[in-house]
Symmetry: D2
Subunit: 330 residues, 4 copies
Amino acid sequence: MTPAALDPTDPEGAIKATVDRVSNWGRWGDDDVRGTMNYLDADVRRAAAGLVRTGESFSLSQRFDGDGPQKGWRRRTNPVHTMLDTGTDAVAGIQGFPHGIGGADDVIAMPLQCSTQWDGLGHIFDRGRAWNGRPADQVVTSLGDGVTGIETVAEVIAGRGVLLDVGRAVGEDGELPDGFAITEEHLRATIAAQGPSSEIRRGDIVLVRTGQLTRVRRGLAAGDGWGDYAGGAAPGLSFTTADWLHGSEIAAIATDTWGFEVRPNEFDVAFQPLHQVAIPHIGLFLGEMWDLDALAEACASDGRYDVWLTAAPLPITGAVGSPVNPIAVR
Amino acid sequence: MTPAALDPTDPEGAIKATVDRVSNWGRWGDDDVRGTMNYLDADVRRAAAGLVRTGESFSLSQRFDGDGPQKGWRRRTNPVHTMLDTGTDAVAGIQGFPHGIGGADDVIAMPLQCSTQWDGLGHIFDRGRAWNGRPADQVVTSLGDGVTGIETVAEVIAGRGVLLDVGRAVGEDGELPDGFAITEEHLRATIAAQGPSSEIRRGDIVLVRTGQLTRVRRGLAAGDGWGDYAGGAAPGLSFTTADWLHGSEIAAIATDTWGFEVRPNEFDVAFQPLHQVAIPHIGLFLGEMWDLDALAEACASDGRYDVWLTAAPLPITGAVGSPVNPIAVR
Amino acid sequence: MTPAALDPTDPEGAIKATVDRVSNWGRWGDDDVRGTMNYLDADVRRAAAGLVRTGESFSLSQRFDGDGPQKGWRRRTNPVHTMLDTGTDAVAGIQGFPHGIGGADDVIAMPLQCSTQWDGLGHIFDRGRAWNGRPADQVVTSLGDGVTGIETVAEVIAGRGVLLDVGRAVGEDGELPDGFAITEEHLRATIAAQGPSSEIRRGDIVLVRTGQLTRVRRGLAAGDGWGDYAGGAAPGLSFTTADWLHGSEIAAIATDTWGFEVRPNEFDVAFQPLHQVAIPHIGLFLGEMWDLDALAEACASDGRYDVWLTAAPLPITGAVGSPVNPIAVR
Amino acid sequence: MTPAALDPTDPEGAIKATVDRVSNWGRWGDDDVRGTMNYLDADVRRAAAGLVRTGESFSLSQRFDGDGPQKGWRRRTNPVHTMLDTGTDAVAGIQGFPHGIGGADDVIAMPLQCSTQWDGLGHIFDRGRAWNGRPADQVVTSLGDGVTGIETVAEVIAGRGVLLDVGRAVGEDGELPDGFAITEEHLRATIAAQGPSSEIRRGDIVLVRTGQLTRVRRGLAAGDGWGDYAGGAAPGLSFTTADWLHGSEIAAIATDTWGFEVRPNEFDVAFQPLHQVAIPHIGLFLGEMWDLDALAEACASDGRYDVWLTAAPLPITGAVGSPVNPIAVR
């Protein structure tokens, strides 16, 4: 299916037809809570460890910062980090500790989706159903996700990461324009351009660089602020990649954009339709707002695009997502 | 120096004398912000990646949970995780999204030291001085740690982890009693008992299991609650291990206890005196409240105690510590 | 109805029968969002202003403090108050402001029900129905209370307050024991003992002192902590007072206890059954954890038990309750 | 002193000279923690209660809302209100309560200065000194304001409020333009225009309406957003009113603007210089972001500008300010 084949007036029809092709419900049993993370097993990890050659490490995380991109939409704010104790207090002599010790502690309040993060399986529903077909209201209540909370994959997400630098391979000057829909053809073209280290295998964590973050950073440096990085127009995956996401048997996929899929979405009236297929039906973990730029430079310099990647969510009981600092080593 | 050699009435004297022997101030230049993380370089990582044999992975993190051990001391509370959107809302049809998509988002408010965490270099001061000799009031203010914030080591902490299961090697039934001071001799005895995979090398991340968490978990299972896990009596490193911590040139050390060092502390009137040496003077990163039990079982089963370990802090700008989900792969 | 008449095995039956007698659904129209606050009108206020004679003022609020009574049950924690800027920072010269100005700002994170508070009309439901018969899932979602949010009574709650010091009138040494169920007879006996200033009129805000807080404070002073003040056994209103609460046409009622009604509740298996009648059916505003001791002393000293009372909730959009600092002037 | 007399290049000089004239340090003893709230005594309250004639009540509070004016400057964000339990959960049958009761609870995280608020005496310092001459670092630390925390005036702030509708009396169409400095002459002209009910007396709470909020609200209604209401240009009190603020012996003063004083400030390089005099030296309580529009309409309609006003801060231990819902009754 190509974007041209999408009927922009009928997201419901496209979603239903796609779901019929790509659903993984029941694939790992009725009790499954891990979805495509089932692909990421010890064998995958053992093989991936061999990718470490120089030992260089890269953080794929943006900063968790009060000056971040969030604008309060749906109450997604930037983190508020405050201190419980400080060095100024210690020097002022007010801490009351013995033998000259002083200390600083801190507190944070933040949406779990405020910066670099994983979407867990409880993050998105399709017509009232969560991953594996469960009724959404029996999965995620005000008490959190009692079934597929992010803690259920606490130890899993370490394996082979593959950078697909679509911005560099397909875009101009290394960047895709906002609104650019990345199709399966673009993904294949990128793999072809990058060479064999980019071949996608079962259990992989795919990292798609669009270059949007690079562009937004230039704006920040120029004093323009974040613009609409958090929710506005952006390059991203086409709805039509659902079949590839399913058939490739990847464990997860992450982008350098706020919302993973192309925005505006490819239907006249729509909101994140690829999420609606990918999370509750494919059981796929999505990473958003990852910073792939430094890694992309390194990969381009020597043509090796696969890395050992650890992207461990905080095991917050019942969370539908998690902030994460993914570490790539190559 | 042995615990017997400590004068319990003179923590100031012991601290000063120890600092004279172990200070790393200036070792990596006046501008250094990474302390012992300087030991953890690409070479260390490259070698450590070879430790992955089966691909088994272990999360060394406790849950971030409202029912955690914190009791509010110094305003350290358990995390409060709340939902911005839920599955019950989605099913109730009140979310207003098109084409049947529904979603759940969440928020957390927590001290950065509430559960499994890293102490950053701005966490502890000695007589008004922070790491590398900087005046503490020019490092950590209400705005956070403007110099050694945890984000400065965002990409570093992946390398060789070595479990020293002191509880198993030295304790009874795998556990050290509360108040047990682990000395250098105990560390060496553990290494000897465990065999060559436990040899400590420059740049290592040392994981000390005391067994206290195992014991506390039994209490939890029996309905006794957390007791005083968060701040009460505990086994832990003796103040006298400062020289070993310095001389071993390790990058970091973590324990399964709240406070790393033995409690009650080994002086008549004291509060975490080993912190006062280790963090501002050695520049050592300390991990606390790590869950080492599952890894310890695996290590004991085949006698391999070294692992590939990634323990990436969230790069919260200016934070003096960070929650972390450390992942060991072996 | 007396407590003796309650069948402890049948809370459902008692609730249904009581609801049939006391429901105010529709009384103020289908669109009503204020319940019994409709009684508190300008006429009531005008008359009540005449109660001010000496001009003495009393805060009926407990402190909002990290050392408060909450223990985390249902994620009700004590407030966490942190600073964004401090005097120590100002003196350390790190704030960067001109002409010698320095400042301090602060932040709070707290459950709205953590200390002295109002229960709003969205706080409790009966078999899926909120105040005035609305389906609860169309009133209070993750977005808050979209219909009866506490902001809808932002300007209303100023009028006549009447202290019923049941602890003094009925108890021993001014206190009722935990588990003591205050019946209509006890309320009438208290009014009779206190004299005509205690007569209850339409639109009144009734303040019921049990003396439990006085007792808990003694425990705090003795180092015993809060005990089970937040949710444990307590004196409080009997379920059988529902008819009096309805027939008296009061605007609101508050107690010095955590939970307004007697605990343990008067049925074998129950949770706050009087709430289930009072809030969704009578439309009554309940105040909890009020501090009535200082006012009680003053009232006892001169026999005047009615005051001018302002108890203004913070108009937090969509809140189902609010912290409040009620001010009595007499 | 008039604005013309101010040397715009010398805020330090102007501040020092003004402080020499208006300081109240020591006026109420060395231990004083209430500043001008000392003026608001029982006599003032007793007299003010007589102002209630119709019993109409007005909330002078803006909503505490996630869509508020804050933009994150100095980490002042809008409140984040989340639910611990909801009606959708109750209807979904997942709450686990007996006999059909369901409930909703909520949580808030907010800066204390995010919306309608009081500045407490610990909010501003002058050259390292807080109210009454205390060293700021011995008053406000990371632990909060240990001396003049807002809880120290928990019961005080009920008395006579006087609306000075400067926007209506002096402005065009009821509004002063941004940057308009309100001088003592403007205050006197407003009093004269409004008549004898506006006469200012010792212990009064003065309410200055500039009309800026009215203007901003039109913008909001037109879809323009809040603009720079939180910190941008605004009408407000001239620095030169310091003498009037002192000599009038008022207890407090509040405006409908973010920052009380005119912005931009009246010096070339300055930040809130009138705060620097008013809070630490006069000991004056400042109210900001109050909503005076509805009250102003009522006052204009019958020419009575004085009201019974209760503006009770939440007694948050150690807070340097507090959100407040002021209630005027007339």
